[in-house]
Symmetry: C2
Subunit: 345 residues, 2 copies
Amino acid sequence: MRLDSITIKDIAKALNLSYSTVSRALKDSYKISEETRRIVQEYADIHQYRPNLIAQSLKNKHSRSIGVVLCNIPNVFFAEVISGIESVAYNNDYLVIITQSQESYEREMKNVQNLTWRSVDGLLVSLSTESEDLSHFSKLHEQGLPIVFFDRVTDQLATHRVVADNRGGAYECTRHLIDSGYRKIAHITSSPHISITRERREGYEQALQEAGLAINETYIKYCMHGGMLPEEIGKAMDELLLLPDPPDALLCASDRLTMGCYSILRKKGLKIPDQMAIAGFSNFNSPELFCPSLTTIRQPAYEIGKTATELLLELIESKRPPTEFTKKIFPTELFIRDSTRKAGS
Amino acid sequence: MRLDSITIKDIAKALNLSYSTVSRALKDSYKISEETRRIVQEYADIHQYRPNLIAQSLKNKHSRSIGVVLCNIPNVFFAEVISGIESVAYNNDYLVIITQSQESYEREMKNVQNLTWRSVDGLLVSLSTESEDLSHFSKLHEQGLPIVFFDRVTDQLATHRVVADNRGGAYECTRHLIDSGYRKIAHITSSPHISITRERREGYEQALQEAGLAINETYIKYCMHGGMLPEEIGKAMDELLLLPDPPDALLCASDRLTMGCYSILRKKGLKIPDQMAIAGFSNFNSPELFCPSLTTIRQPAYEIGKTATELLLELIESKRPPTEFTKKIFPTELFIRDSTRKAGS
DNA sequence: TTTATTTGGGCAAACGTTGGCACAAGTCGT
DNA sequence: ACGACTTGTGCCAACGTTTGCCCAAATAAA
């Protein structure tokens, strides 16, 4: 259902001008007399002329819309990212189309396909945990579709990437745990396919190594669906707890994981942080209300969304494909709270 | 940048048919021989023909997209609603365009305008706290644009509404507080302009009245921006606490308010629930981790989004404007936790 | 056999914009 | 006074689909 709005043709007829003159007067391009321009503008204003964006898209081959592919909207981190995306898009008159992969490769592919049929001008992507084969993206990218990756990125495609300093965040937090006296630090993380998993593990391992602590593979647990399935977190925790020499601290690699693990510890009645310390990546904004308050590594999610979108719009609007691709890395913030403070320290 | 994809014309030329025949064969309408249909379909499949949705929109006067107007994406409740919206839209091949009003009337108007220029087929709306004048919606609605309201609804427009049982939820929770022995129950709520504020207050007042308790106006605090501005919550709390006879329990009317108030109570070092009990509407999914665990009223946000979208699509796809408009009311769930359990009870 | 009806398919206009090209009138230099 | 520009505007095709209308052939009815 279209809302009856006046068109260029209407203006042309009313003013006894040709379509093209009106069109040109309206977007003050080309050589149009000041007089004509004024008359047209005035008429357009009075009659509330609005260009039909669909028609423009058809003609111009671009739709002023961008597609977003991410795993799950209610995830705090992504919700904040979206908010950042939306704000930049809004200011630039772009429209944002959001799709959720729910950590499924299948769905991610379908969404991307759908988005391209819709002729989005560019894509903002955070990979699903299942995605190993990235050909659905590289094909499009080769055809010239601008893509910017954020959070869960890849180096298989030559394009911009926007991430938090995952390695640094994990490193800093692990160091903090070590400094607090913990020696048996486990790492509960997501699928090894995605970039954040690798980077966070590297930070974790680096801190251990620098402290002269051995890396214990049995202390590293992968949740292949990033914690979407509650049972995978439970399983990982059980395995850890049943170890002959169980860990005394937990570094969790994502929002869902952090919440899930914390919740399990509490349910099992373990004393935090004495029996088990816990810290993790999380953008939840009241972790101080937990009991004990929760040590978190916070990512500048809004900033990430904002920057990724700015980069994408730049890509879209630049005439020629850029030769250089940046990887923006935003620092994380460690908030030390009671869940990692030993009673005595 | 359009991805070179084959068009109907290409197929027509290759198969030596006319555009119209191909078009009709593809959407098996009209009378086309089985033979032709098969040939066209096959060719289309092999060459991965995808209809150009922009062109279709221009021709058909609809875009298979819906606009969403709500206040703030990172708000848990709305994030879940969006997730529900997205799932229905996805299954019906509709595209979802999300805008945030940030509780600003100004922005809400601009967003709606923008959305209609984009020729969305329908609107899903949750009003901002500032919106009193609804003419930007009613104008469009009169012109035939399908609109479904959810959460913060209005009866100024004759259309579908989807909400939680706000009155019931508030009533049940207030009763619970009364039953737990609290007698001085304050209500911290949002702007009186929006429907949820009124409904929740009604539930609160009804419970008080049934219990023979007086309604104390000084116990009802309105945060005009729904708690978006941290200082408004602080001010409301201060005023309550400084009352000669301060309340002993708090019923908070929204996610942000509940979190904000809880946080302030903790910061001020008040004993929950002995000095002050607190309960509120919240969709945060780990309130049991708070200290003390937080009593919440949960709304079926995902369901609300899902249902609103189903209703909207029905409206969009039905030929004639319906004569009846439904108001779907979903029950809320009260989760009683320690923040409202007196030590002795 | 003629006429009416069905079946299958083509033509071309339309949706609202845009932009290359053409062209008339005015301006300038010589 | 005559060509060479410049300026302002109009014409028309194109973007990819859809669809009303028309028409040819085949079939059925008379």
